[in-house]
């Protein structure tokens, strides 16, 4: 099913913070409908990489190209104007933060949070926005009677599901997820992983998933990249890397986790 041209190509992406290295010479290719997990310990450069890829941070070196909807060839995102990045990031892209408070507007009701992207791209019909909000509340298993409540009154798991709905309402092709299950208790995590997997399948989303949880990576991703100190140590099919790790660090990582 893969098309001849990848959706996202990163080539030698580096970003440092003064003397501290964020990520160093990272290259990757993401195809349409594929889930790529980026794993590694805290400070390994996963989030820096994710922020570079999603246009939230500009890399010091390297090139990131994204193939926009309806276009045959990828475009260098460094050449896009700020307004184009903004349009991409709320139509074709989604970004799920670890802390839902960063991705949600806490002073706006659940329905308003979901509808924001639709209004941002110019929908001016209340009934349409409302019905899209209701549909998406249902799709992420949120009770419909909470639609006019603010997320301040939601539990952690509900907030995360609302954040997912808010991103998916614009039918994005590529979703960046930064530790989407972090900070939730185990049973809520399991339900959330199920939900994400269902939505990814239904909508054939491409996902770049940053996580330190190998179990989450194994459940959701087809391919995996292991990072440490800003560099990619090992990459390949998820099952292959986790069942038969080659790099010593990956072996350590796999051994240290109860799978």
């Amino acid at each position: 099913m893969t098309e001849a041209v990848p959706l996202l190509i990163a080539d030698g992406v580096s970003r440092s913070y003064g003397r501290h290295i964020g990520c160093c010479d990272v290259s990757l290719t993401l195809w349409e409908g594929e889930v790529l997990a980026v794993v590694g310990e805290s400070g390994s450069g996963k989030s820096t990489l994710l922020n570079c890829l999603s246009g939230r941070l500009s890399p010091d070196a390297g090139r990131i190209s994204y193939r926009r909807r309806g276009e045959a060839a990828p475009t260098d995102i460094a050449r896009l104007r700020p307004v184009e990045i903004r349009d991409l990031s709320r139509s074709e892209w989604g970004f799920i933060h670890q802390d839902p408070r960063e991705g949600l507007r806490m002073a706006i009701s659940g329905g308003g949070n979901i509808g924001e992207r639709l209004m941002a791209v110019g929908n001016r019909n209340y009934a349409e926005i409302r019905s899209a909000a209701e549909t998406w509340m249902g799709r992420v298993d949120l009770a419909l009677d909470r639609i006019d409540d603010r997320p301040t009154g939601y539990s952690g798991g509900m907030r995360q599901r609302l954040q997912i709905a808010r991103n998916l309402v614009s039918a994005p092709r590529l979703v960046f997820m930064d530790e989407p299950t972090g900070g939730l208790d185990v049973s809520v995590q399991a339900r959330l992983v199920d939900l994400i997997r269902r939505l990814v399948d239904d909508l054939s989303l491409s996902v770049i998933l940053v996580t330190h949880d190998l179990a989450v990576a194994r459940h959701l991703s087809e391919r995996i990249m292991v990072m440490r100190s800003g560099e990619v140590l090992e990459a390949g099919l998820t099952d292959r890397v986790l069942d038969d790790p080659q790099a010593p660090y990956t072996q350590l990582l796999v051994e240290s986790i109860l799978l």
Binding site: V83, G112, E116, R117, M119, A127
Partner: protein, 286 residues
């Protein structure tokens, strides 16, 4: 009447007035854009109209006639004080009649009598940024203005409809100027928003504490935001003004006793007074 000695004409020094006029020219050139200016300390607290008073000081001349209104009334503390201030430091003529004024400084209302090309309306603005309570970061709101990225404003209107069944925002109702900049028309009731549209008079907005000036040049489009299925509507009342019988003016509810007695009267006192005078003359002529 001449200005009190010891003050430069209209209180501010000439360099300050020049600076404000430059900001005003830029504001008129880019309708609805918030121009920063070096707001001065004025002999009154912030929130009492320091932005409006600085604009008035910068544009007023010895031949001008000044009218000041506060909530539509000429006889409230703020209006009386500012009128007295300019009478003292600029020696200008003052009036309570809308049609006789060349400069009108206002808080919370636009006069009911249609303005003309020979008049300038100066608004006192507490919060110039319409996106302030939706997006607290000023760096972000500036970028949103630069990119004409105003979907967020509709989120607020969405919230109104979701919670109250209609757009409940009744004052400081957001509008788009000249098809480009979203702006906050200061806390005027949305009843007055249609008067901003294609107004023959120059409209200037000054926010002293926030150090911003913006403007709507004469005959500029001003469109209030709404949804297709929830169009913009102004307030309406079930009864006319209890004093002058006007059915086309903005009415204040006045409590008359402690047993639930109330009446609705025009908020624009000049409009109400002149209508009553007209009625009396009409009766006398019969």
């Amino acid at each position: 009447m001449s200005a009190a000695p010891g003050y430069n004409f209209a209180y501010l020094d000439e360099q300050t007035k020049r600076m404000i006029r430059r900001a005003l020219l830029k504001a008129v050139a880019i309708p609805g854009y918030q121009v920063p200016f070096a707001s001065r300390e004025m002999p009154m607290p912030y929130g009492w109209g320091t932005g409006g008073i600085q604009i008035t000081a910068a544009i007023i001349g010895p031949d001008d006639t000044l009218k000041v209104i506060d909530q539509g009334a000429d006889d409230t503390t703020n209006a009386v004080s500012i009128r007295a201030f300019f009478a003292r430091v600029a020696g200008v003529a003052t009036t309570e009649q809308t049609s006789e004024a060349s400069v009108i400084q206002t808080r919370h209302r636009i006069p009911e009598v249609p303005l003309t090309e020979d008049q300038i309306l100066v608004f006192q603005v507490p919060i110039p940024e319409p996106l302030r309570f939706l997006e607290p970061r000023e760096t972000e709101t500036r970028e949103m203005h630069a990119l004409r990225d105003y979907g967020l404003m509709h989120v607020r209107l969405y919230e109104d409809i979701a919670h109250f069944g209609e757009i409940a925002t009744s004052y400081a109702y957001p509008a788009l100027v000249g098809g480009r900049y979203l702006f906050d028309p200061s806390p005027i009731p949305k009843f007055d928003n249609p008067k901003l549209h294609q107004s023959p008079a120059l409209q200037l907005f000054g926010a002293g504490r926030e150090q911003r000036i913006y403007a709507i040049p004469p005959y500029t489009d001003v469109v209030s935001l709404d949804f297709e299925d929830h169009p913009f509507r102004i307030q309406s009342w079930t009864q006319p003004c209890a004093l002058c019988g006007a059915e086309d003016s903005y009415l204040d509810e006045v409590i008359t006793d402690d047993r639930g007695g109330r009446m609705f009267v025009c908020s624009d006192t000049d409009y109400c007074v002149s209508r009553r005078a007209g009625l009396r003359n009409g009766e006398a002529a019969e």
